[in-house]
């Protein structure tokens, strides 16, 4: 299948944690994304999703992100994102994901 397999890695930062996302975000990313969220929430502060290593997001991937965002909201955790291409920033605007998570311009948000 075209596209690269989804992977996620979590690191702690001064402001919270960063979940580095790699590959394709579609329905197959659900388990990895939720597992990464569980790892990241150990650390206090905002959980930032780093999309700079993501090559493709489709509607099933949007659903996965919405699912994680729903988990975070239920647990009153802040979630942000950076590293999105202009196209996916627009997709986040259109889907109104951007209304519920901070979209940062660059990686400095995660430092």
């Amino acid at each position: 299948m075209p596209g690269s397999e989804f992977r996620a890695a979590v690191r702690q930062t001064d402001k919270g944690s960063v979940v580095q996302l790699l590959g394709t975000v579609n329905r197959d990313a659900k388990e990895g994304m939720e597992s990464a969220y569980e790892d990241a929430k150990i650390f206090s502060g905002e959980i930032l999703l780093d999309f700079s290593g993501v090559d493709y997001i489709n509607s099933t991937g949007i659903a996965v992100i919405v699912g994680v965002l729903a988990m975070a909201r239920a647990e009153e955790r802040e979630v942000g994102a950076f590293g999105l291409t202009d196209h996916y920033k627009e997709v986040f605007e259109i889907t109104r994901l951007a209304d519920f998570m901070h979209i940062y311009e660059d990686a400095s948000a995660g430092s």
Binding site: S59, A63, V66, H87
Partner: protein
């Protein structure tokens, strides 16, 4: 004079081993056989040792013959309670009668010889059986060679159609065959047949029948006329008690029309969106009687229809309980829409599950599967009839396999990239194409890899359009609604349901229509919309 008479194991075969001149014979003696059940046999088995012929009071043709020949003493050779042979001794050279010592000596000799004869007999029988097995094996190899040489080397490759076949001979090679005949134009001849009997005779009749069918098929447009002429030609040629069942169909690959006639073969099944149909047409097997008529019927295959032709090696296979696989089970399996593209593989695997592991295949197994995959690309092309000045940038089909939406994106991007949409709108079109193709794969074609998704990219001075078609039959694409993200985040709704919304948001225009059982979605980007 001594004669050794050897008897074979089988009671109806009495053989003579010739003269064993351990004592110089004064004259040769023609073999004197002891027929099964002869009084002498009973007597010798009863006595178990040398018997003086002159003292035998009962009579039988053999005993009379021995007396005529001047045989004085008969020494039975007995092994495991069976009379293996006998030594016939004439008068002693000294003219003296046989003494008690002579008889004892001969009795001992016989008891030594009999086991050796038994072993020799078994060895001879085993050698004969091995030779027979080798002969049968060679015959089977010849039969298999004839069949495999004559079966098609490759499958027809026809746009919008998928043809597959499976053939596996039984050990005793039956007379199954199938064939594809290119009739020119958009016409394909499809044959499946089965010769009664097995081995070389069946293979030779199969070869003859196949050649006749090929020759006659090129002269007639009508399957019933073809079968009738082949029958006339075959009747004088075919050995007695042999015949051939055969189904012959001519498929118009452009219109999807199938005209067929059947000479007593298994009925073909067609899986449609409404269920499985039997294609019935009556006719006697080929080679039985001259002057036979063959009914001719027609069926129109729709996009996605699947026709399965089989031999009785499938329906008449038995499970360990002795139950036949049968037509109803086959029909049920044909109805089953599998995720696998390999219908032949699915049916064979189901059959193997039925017969059980390690069971020997009873008869040849032959399957031909013809599927009208699509005019999916054709439907997309038909969407926009009035496209004055419209150029087709590309047109292709993809199997309904998850991930092929990325292939579609790449192939559309290749041609649209050269057409000059700005990068933001180009990315939007790519996302819309990916979502639309994914919907066609998942929802339209139910992830059935054998069903194609058609993609066509056209452009004119005003716009670029991508048309995506599935084979969803009666499925209706739902209306697009705006997802309620608050409800989704609150867990009140599923997080899914973004596809149609994204598509609508990504392009300038989305048009939907249904053509020939296909849902066609047209994604339009206006060129004046370029920034």
């Amino acid at each position: 004079m001594v004669q050794l008479t050897r008897r074979s194991k089988k009671s109806d075969e009495t053989a003579e081993a010739g003269i064993a001149p351990s004592v110089s014979p004064t004259r040769a003696l023609d073999p004197v056989e002891i027929p099964p059940g002869d009084t002498l046999e009973t007597l010798l088995l009863s006595v178990g040792g040398p018997v003086e012929v002159s003292s035998i009071e009962v009579d039988s043709p053999t005993i009379s013959r021995l007396k005529e020949e001047g045989i004085e003493l008969v020494v039975p050779l007995i092994g495991q309670g069976e009379l293996l042979g006998a030594l016939y001794l004439g008068q002693r050279l000294s003219d003296q009668p046989y003494s008690t010592d002579d008889r004892r000596l001969l009795g001992n000799l016989a008891s030594q010889v009999a086991p050796a004869m038994k072993v020799a007999q078994l060895v001879r029988e085993q050698q004969a059986e091995a030779k027979e097995r080798e002969r049968i094996e060679q015959e089977l190899q010849v039969a298999a060679l004839i069949q495999q040489t004559l079966l098609p080397k490759e499958l027809p490759s026809i746009p919008g159609w998928n043809v597959d076949a499976f053939y596996r001979p039984a050990r005793a090679v039956g007379g199954d065959f199938y064939d594809f005949i290119n009739l020119g134009g958009d016409r394909l001849g499809v044959v499946i047949g089965d010769v009664t009997d097995k081995g070389v005779p069946a293979a030779l009749v199969m070869a003859t029948c196949r050649s006749m069918l090929r020759a006659v098929a090129l002269r007639h447009d009508s399957p019933s006329a073809v079968l009738a002429e082949v029958n006339e030609n075959l009747v004088p040629e075919i050995p007695p008690a042999m015949f051939v069942t055969c189904l012959y169909a001519i498929i118009d690959t452009n219109a999807g029309k199938v005209v067929f006639a059947n000479a007593g073969h298994n009925l073909p099944y067609v899986r449609t969106s409404d269920g499985v149909l039997e294609l019935r047409a009556t006719g006697m097997p080929l080679g039985l009687m001259p002057g036979m008529p063959y009914e001719e019927r027609t069926y129109s295959m729709q996009n996605g229809d699947l026709m399965v032709l089989t031999s009785d090696g499938i329906t008449e296979a038995h499970n360990p309980k002795g139950e036949m696989y049968g037509f109803s089970r086959l029909m049920g399996r044909v109805a089953k829409k599998t995720k696998a593209e390999d219908v032949c593989g699915f049916l064979v695997s189901d059959l193997e599950g039925w017969t059980g592991p390690g069971s020997e295949q009873e008869d040849d197994i032959t399957l031909v599967v013809v599927r009208r995959t699509s005019s999916a690309a054709g439907s997309a092309e038909a969407f926009h009839q009035g496209g004055q000045g419209e150029s087709v940038l590309t047109s292709f089909t993809l199997a309904s396999v998850e991930g092929n939406e990325r292939v579609a994106i790449d192939r559309v991007a290749e041609v649209v990239g050269t057409f000059g949409l700005d990068s933001a709108r180009f990315e939007k079109l790519k996302t819309a194409v990916g979502e639309t193709v994914m919907n066609a794969i998942e929802h339209g074609n139910d992830n059935d890899p054998s069903l194609d998704v058609g993609v066509e990219v056209v452009a004119d001075e005003r716009r670029v359009a991508v048309r995506v078609s599935d084979l969803g039959g009666d499925k209706v694409i739902p209306e697009t609604t705006t997802p309620d993200i608050e409800a989704k985040l609150a867990g009140e709704q599923t997080p899914r349901g973004w596809g149609l919304f994204l598509i609508e948001q990504m392009v300038d225009e989305v048009n939907r229509t249904r053509i020939n059982g296909s849902n066609v979605v047209e994604l339009v980007m206006n060129r004046e919309g370029e920034s």
